[in-house]
Subunit: 199 residues, 2 copies
DNA sequence: TGTACATCAGTGAACGCGCGTTCACTGATGTAC
DNA sequence: TGTACATCAGTGAACGCGCGTTCACTGATGTAC
């Protein structure tokens, strides 16, 4: 049996509504506190319809990480690679992408920050994989400017940069958008120490 | 009316049991998922007795941060100040204190890691204050070795060091105690970049 | 000393409520022939 | 073309359960005089 593409789209629309509703509710009260009925209510479907999309809340969370967080990370890397210039410009593009999420998608940012170190092991593992994408991009950017005979940038440098980047974004979430410029300066000062030569 | 010191001690014993039970349960399923009845059950008191100690779970969490997390931070700083030697030895003592909690109190570590960036604003604020204690100690340690005419260490250096320290502890929690030595080396490499001169 | 009263941690019964899950059903759509 | 059947997202009723909270009570202890 073939599937009607319209029907398929409609199902994906509802699935997406479940993911976004979850992000919104999780930002307010924490993912761990959410129930299937609460999420279904927010997505305007009957509680029992939840099971047409996910087996339970953990499966929903993993899908959320794969799709929404995955897209965020891919977009970040794409923006960095599309930037013109050297290491400094690429790192700037990455930094801007993450810091601008403080306005454009604070709920996603809170979810990543919280679940990366939260109580659910499968979420921690999935988010570590997602953040590794950013870390690789940072490493690539730094390596672009290293001397031809220098050693490749060690992973711990790029990993530290990513951790400090999200730390800055977390502070921005708490203190408000108006503090983004000073937090960006602060972050750049930290990154300058991590990346041996230049800006 | 005066209070019987024995009675007071007994009450504090039960209060402490509530805090420890909460830490244990939160490490397994996340603080946000905990209920008052679940915590009371784990502390071996009737659900209604919970109210003799705290108004709700949020009040309990704030007391937990004040008392258990507070003690942890004070102990860390005390160990650093008691160490003999210079900056390197003080930072080593701080690092050892936090990393040894991977064995001695993994539940506290998970709580600090998770709630520092979790969904409850009052917890984030309270934990930021607690971590500032460590950050100040790190700054003090670095300043000890700076040249007499050099500028004082900026806060962003010490803050980054503390963030990376807890990041290492979080990785150790996930990967197991046997990875602590390599994670410590990795952390020290990162700290060397942040602290201009020496180890 | 005895007696009346105050304090307070802990309790069991009871409440109304929202939860996750099961089940059988509907209705739209696609397939077989 | 019509007819019988399969698929599948969505649903409402119903279930048993644990939740937070209230209430009035107990019993140990301290205070007043």
């Amino acid at each position: 049996l073939r599937v009607n593409p319209e029907k398929k789209e409609e199902k994906e629309r509802v699935t997406h509504a479940l993911l976004r509703s979850t992000l919104r509710l999780a930002a307010a009260h924490g993912f761990a506190s959410l129930g299937l009925r609460e999420v279904a209510r927010a997505a305007d479907i009957a509680p029992t319809s939840f099971y047409r999309h996910f087996a339970d809340m953990e499966a929903l969370g993993l899908a959320l990480i794969d799709e929404l967080v995955g897209r965020f990370m891919r977009d970040a890397v794409a923006r960095a690679e599309a930037s013109v210039g050297g290491m400094a410009e690429e790192l700037d593009a990455l930094t801007n992408h993450v810091l601008s999420a403080v306005i454009s998608d604070p709920e996603l940012l809170r979810f990543v920050l919280a679940e990366r170190v939260g109580a659910i092991p499968s979420f921690r593992a999935a988010l570590e994989r997602q953040l590794a994408v950013l870390s690789d991009a940072v490493r690539g950017a730094i390596d672009e400017e290293r001397a031809a005979d220098a050693l490749a940038t060690p992973a711990y440098v790029a990993d530290a940069a990513v951790v400090l980047l999200f730390e800055a974004a977390g502070k921005a979430l708490d203190r408000g958008v108006e503090h983004v410029p000073e937090l960006r300066e602060r972050l750049l000062s930290q990154l300058r120490l991590l990346t041996p030569r230049s800006p």
